[in-house]
C-alpha cells in the first residue's frame, strides 16, 4: 500500500512481531505506571478533598469518582475487544488475538467494580443493596458476557482456535450491547418505582467534573498497563517453544 509511508508500515510490522512487542511492552509499562499514578492521585485529591459536598447526597456521592469511570471503562474495553476481534479474524494478526484476550479480565474487573460501587452508592440512597435499574442490570449482563469470553478461551485447548472462537463471540456480543442497553432501559422505565435516580445526568459542576475526567483518564492508562502485563504473559505462554523465548530465558539466567 503506497499510501502508507514505509517507516510507518515497518513500525506496525515490527510491533506485530511477538519478540518486538514483548520488548516494547517492557519499555512502556514503567511509563504507563507512572502516568497512571500521577493521574490517579490528582483525580483522587480533586474528588475526595477539593470537590464540595453534594447538596442532596452528602459525601456518599464521592463514589461517583470510581463508579462512573469504571462503568465507562467496562463499555470502552468491550468495544475495543470487538475491534481487535475484527482485526484478528480478518487479518489473523496474532497480536490482535493476544490483546483481545488480555483485555477481557480487565474489562470484567471494571464491570465488577461498577456493580459493587453502584450497589454501595445505592444502599444509602435507595435503601437497598440491589435495584433492578437499567444501568445496574445492563452492567450485570455485560459482566456475564465478559465471563463468557474468558470461560470459552479457557475451555478450548488449542489457543489459536480459542482466540478465533473468542473473537467471534466478542463480535456477536458487541452487537448485543446496544440491544441490551435499549431493551433493559425500556424495561426499566416500565417498572420504575417512584424514585428518580440522581445518577441521571445531573448538570455537573466543574469542580466535580474535572476529578471525574482525571479518574477516567487514569483508568485508561491503567487498562493499557494491565493489558500489556497480561499480553506479556499470554505471549510467553503461546510462544514457549520459540527461539525468542528461549533467548529470553537464557538472558534471565
Amino acid at each position: 500500500m503506497s499510501v502508507i509511508p514505509a517507516a510507518v508500515s515497518l513500525f506496525f510490522h515490527r510491533t506485530a512481531s511477538p519478540p518486538h512487542f514483548y520488548a516494547l511492552a517492557n519499555r512502556f509499562i514503567p511509563w504507563l505506571t507512572g502516568i497512571f499514578f500521577l493521574l490517579l492521585l490528582a483525580g483522587l485529591y480533586g474528588g475526595l478533598v477539593l470537590a464540595p459536598t453534594d447538596y442532596q447526597q452528602g459525601d456518599s456521592y464521592r463514589i461517583i469518582y470510581i463508579h462512573v469511570p469504571a462503568a465507562w471503562m467496562s463499555l470502552f474495553i468491550y468495544v475495543l475487544m470487538a475491534v481487535m476481534a475484527a482485526i484478528a479474524l480478518v487479518w489473523r494478526i496474532k497480536l490482535a488475538e493476544i490483546m483481545l484476550i488480555s483485555s477481557a479480565p480487565i474489562g470484567a474487573g471494571f464491570t465488577f467494580v461498577a456493580l459493587v460501587t453502584g450497589s454501595l452508592w445505592g444502599k444509602p440512597m435507595w435503601g437497598t443493596w440491589w435495584v433492578w435499574d437499567a444501568r445496574l442490570t445492563f452492567e450485570l449482563i455485560l459482566l456475564f458476557q465478559y465471563l463468557g469470553v474468558m470461560s470459552l478461551y479457557t475451555a478450548i485447548e488449542e489457543k489459536r482456535m480459542a482466540a478465533r472462537a473468542v473473537a467471534i463471540l466478542a463480535l456477536v456480543g458487541v452487537v448485543n450491547v446496544p440491544i441490551i442497553h435499549y431493551s433493559v432501559e425500556w424495561w426499566s422505565t416500565l417498572h420504575q418505582g417512584p424514585t428518580v435516580t440522581k445518577m441521571d445526568k445531573p448538570s455537573i459542576h466543574i469542580s466535580m467534573l474535572i476529578p471525574l475526567l482525571l479518574m477516567a483518564l487514569s483508568f485508561k492508562f491503567y487498562y493499557l498497563l494491565a493489558a500489556l502485563q497480561n499480553a506479556k504473559l499470554e505471549l510467553v505462554k503461546r510462544e514457549a517453544s520459540s527461539q525468542w523465548v528461549r533467548n529470553l530465558l537464557e538472558n534471565q539466567a
Partner: protein, 224 residues
C-alpha cells in the same frame, strides 16, 4: 445439486433423523411443562400470584427448554463426521446452517407452542393474553434457535460445552425474554402489544440474516 435443493435436502435429512428418534422429540416439551409446574409448587398456589408471574415463568421456562435442546443441533453430526462433510460441500455453509437451524426449530421449538394452552391454564393466564402468547412463541422460538446456534457452533468441539453454552447464550437471550414476556403481561392487562411484537419480528428478521455467517465461521473453526 443447486443451493436451494441442498437447503431443502438438509432440512429433510434432519427431520428424518429426528423422526427416527421421535420419542426424543417430546423431551423439550416435557421439560417445558415440568419446569412451569415447578413454580406453583415452589411459590404456593395463590391464583393472583401465579397469574402475575405467568408470562415471566412461561418465558423463562421456554428459554431453558430451548437451551437444553440446542445441543442436538450440531452434536450428532459432529460426532459421526457428517458435519465435516457439510463443511466440505461446495454449497455455502451459511445456507446449510440455516437449513439445520430451521429443522431444529421445527423439531424442538414448534412443539413448545403446542404446550401454550396447557401452561396458560396451569398459571391462570387470562384469555386476553392467549393470542399474544401464541404469537410471541411463534416469533421468538425461532429466534432462540438462531441465537443459540452461534453458541453451539462455538462449543460443539468441547467435551463439557453444556455449561459454557448457557453462559454464552443467556446474555444474548435477555432482550428476547424482556420483549416476549412483557408482551404477554401487557396483553393480560389488556394493553396494546404491537410495539413488542414488532420488535420481536425485527429481531427475528435480523437474526435470519446475521446469524448464519458467524455460525458457519464458528463451525469451521470448531471442526478443525
Amino acid at each position: 445439486m443447486s443451493l436451494s435443493k441442498a437447503f431443502f435436502a438438509i432440512i429433510q435429512r434432519d427431520l428424518l433423523l429426528a423422526f427416527r428418534r421421535r420419542a426424543e422429540m417430546a423431551n423439550p416439551l416435557l421439560f417445558f411443562v415440568l419446569v412451569v409446574t415447578m413454580f406453583p409448587l415452589a411459590v404456593g398456589a395463590q391464583p393472583h400470584l401465579l397469574q402475575a408471574m405467568a408470562p415471566g415463568v412461561i418465558w423463562v421456562s421456554a428459554l431453558l427448554a430451548a437451551l437444553l435442546s440446542l445441543d442436538s443441533l450440531f452434536r450428532t453430526d459432529f460426532e459421526d463426521g457428517s458435519l465435516e462433510q457439510m463443511l466440505l460441500s461446495p454449497h455455502f455453509l451459511s445456507i446449510l446452517v440455516l437449513g439445520k437451524i430451521l429443522a431444529h426449530w421445527l423439531v424442538t421449538g414448534l412443539p413448545l407452542i403446542v404446550a401454550a394452552p396447557l401452561l396458560a391454564m396451569f398459571l391462570g393466564l387470562p384469555e386476553s393474553a392467549m393470542g399474544t402468547l401464541w404469537l410471541t412463541l411463534i416469533l421468538a422460538t425461532p429466534l432462540l434457535s438462531l441465537i443459540g446456534a452461534i453458541g453451539v457452533a462455538l462449543t460443539v468441539g468441547l467435551r463439557r460445552g453444556g455449561m459454557i453454552l448457557s453462559l454464552l447464550v443467556l446474555p444474548l437471550y435477555v432482550p428476547v425474554l424482556i420483549f416476549a414476556s412483557s408482551a404477554v403481561s401487557r396483553a393480560a392487562e389488556g394493553l396494546p402489544v404491537s410495539a413488542q411484537l414488532n420488535i420481536l419480528l425485527s429481531m427475528l428478521l435480523a437474526a435470519l440474516v446475521l446469524v448464519p455467517l458467524p455460525t458457519a465461521a464458528a463451525l469451521k473453526m470448531s471442526v478443525n
